[in-house]
Amino acid sequence: MSEFASLGRRDGRKAYEIRGFRCELGYLERADGSCRLEQGKTQVVAGVYGPLEARGRNELPDKTFVDVSIRPCQGYAADYLRLRERELKEIFVATIAAELQPRSCVSLVIQIIENDGSLKAAMINACMLSLLSAGIPCNWIASSCTVSYHSKDTFLLDPTLVEELEGHATAVISYGFEGPKPVPSHNLIGLSCSGFVSSKDIYFSSLSYSQEACKKVYEFIQLVTKRSQTIDGEQLSGIDH
């Protein structure tokens, strides 16, 4: 790797370091599942309603309908958000165990509070956390990470907005993790890349690094979810013998 990768970034991180996460699960009172996720300064609130009774055009005879809606912090939903909604929807249609509840509807709403890069990855992670807190059956835990490709064959994980604008390509990579703890298996479930990546090698090496980052996110999601179901370290749903 070139010397750039080893240099620090402007917020003091290394090239392959992700920002700190903070999460408040069950942020919304009325939604079935919700969370407020901070990824560095990027901040989103996600809320899930479901399973609801699907009606009209949303009704699918054999599986759950998934709807995703993104609310920008300023102005009305623009076209580029339509595209994001579509991409997120595809990821979560695959993630939610849709065949369990036919003719139902699961609806995800994301409110962007602040955008400081890696927005889409943050949205995916927030949605996953809310789905877990709503108890929507899922096939795996999806976690996501952004890679920003820069000149001289370098790339940065979890870029800030400034870094995203500087790079000439950005990829959002999502993995689905399944399996009990020791060795979780992971499958690529979503990859969207915009822009120009200088070589094939750099692309593949970024994939393996992002996989490691996604695993960290996955562990974070597990940690938060598990904590939310325990009281002071004591098991909330204790075993009764």
Binding site: W140, G179, Q229, S237, I239
Partner: protein, 242 residues
């Protein structure tokens, strides 16, 4: 693969164990059979009782299961059924005659908005769940007002999480035993995240409601401590007003 069952927190996608030929296992909530494997689809503690396996999740939305006690709210009525909202995916049906001792002429009339305490008798993936207020083996007719199930009158309905209700019903959360030492009250707990409380005055009900909601995130020791300190304050404060 997980071999031990106690105290295991599973996440969606966790492979629980392989099914072998001749295994007779009933799978409950949060578990799905994929090929010859059982896979968790919800996060929560894994439980096993006999040949039943299920995952207990802390969630808000109720998923009906046969035998659950629920508190529903009547939203509509037809010639044969009351449509009852139980907080689930679809409304449940309560037959007009599914009350102890009810006949065509002599049966309770519930209006839209009434709360009923009932039992889930059938659940099917493709149709609405059925409720009943019948309890085999009781002598009381609905007229006497002494039946376990039926319409709930007066008092307040509290909305809380499913896990709190489950813990109360399974006796893991002792909020009612603790409260009962100091305040007389009546309660009915539904598995669908609703608790009905009735007590001597509105002030008592307000207090009870807030305490019950607070008890969700507390251990039983903290709870009894809180209630004790509260009641000592209450007795000085509440008595002069009434």
């Amino acid at each position: 693969m997980i071999s031990k069952f106690d105290d295991v927190f599973v996440f969606p996608g966790d492979k629980l164990f392989k099914l072998e030929n001749g295994d007779n296992i009933r799978i409950g909530q949060g578990i799905l059979k994929k090929g010859d494997c059982l896979v968790a689809v919800k996060p929560g503690y894994l439980h096993k009782d006999g040949n039943k396996v299920w995952v207990e999740t802390a969630q808000k939305r109720y998923i009906p299961a046969v035998g659950d006690l629920v508190i529903g709210v009547v939203v509509d009525r037809s010639s044969e059924f009351y449509q009852v909202d139980v907080g689930g995916f679809s409304t449940a049906l309560l037959p007009l005659l599914a009350f102890e001792g009810a006949t065509k002429r002599n049966r309770p009339h519930l209006s839209v908005g009434s709360a009923v305490y009932a039992r889930v008798v059938s659940v099917d993936r493709d149709s609405e769940p059925q409720l009943s207020c019948l309890l085999p083996g009781t002598q009381h007719s609905w007229v006497t007002g002494e039946t376990v199930f039926g319409e709930l009158k007066q008092g307040n309905l509290i909305h809380c999480s499913i896990s709190l209700c489950r813990n109360i019903l399974l006796g893991r959360n002792t909020v009612f035993t603790e409260l009962g030492k100091y305040i007389p009250f009546e309660q009915a707990t539904g598995m669908n995240g609703r608790i009905w409380v009735r007590s001597q005055s509105a002030g008592h009900v307000v207090l009870l409601s807030n305490l019950i909601i607070c008890s969700e995130n507390m251990t039983n020791d903290q709870l009894s401590g809180m209630i004790r300190s509260l009641v000592s304050k209450m007795t000085t404060q509440m008595s002069p007003t009434r």
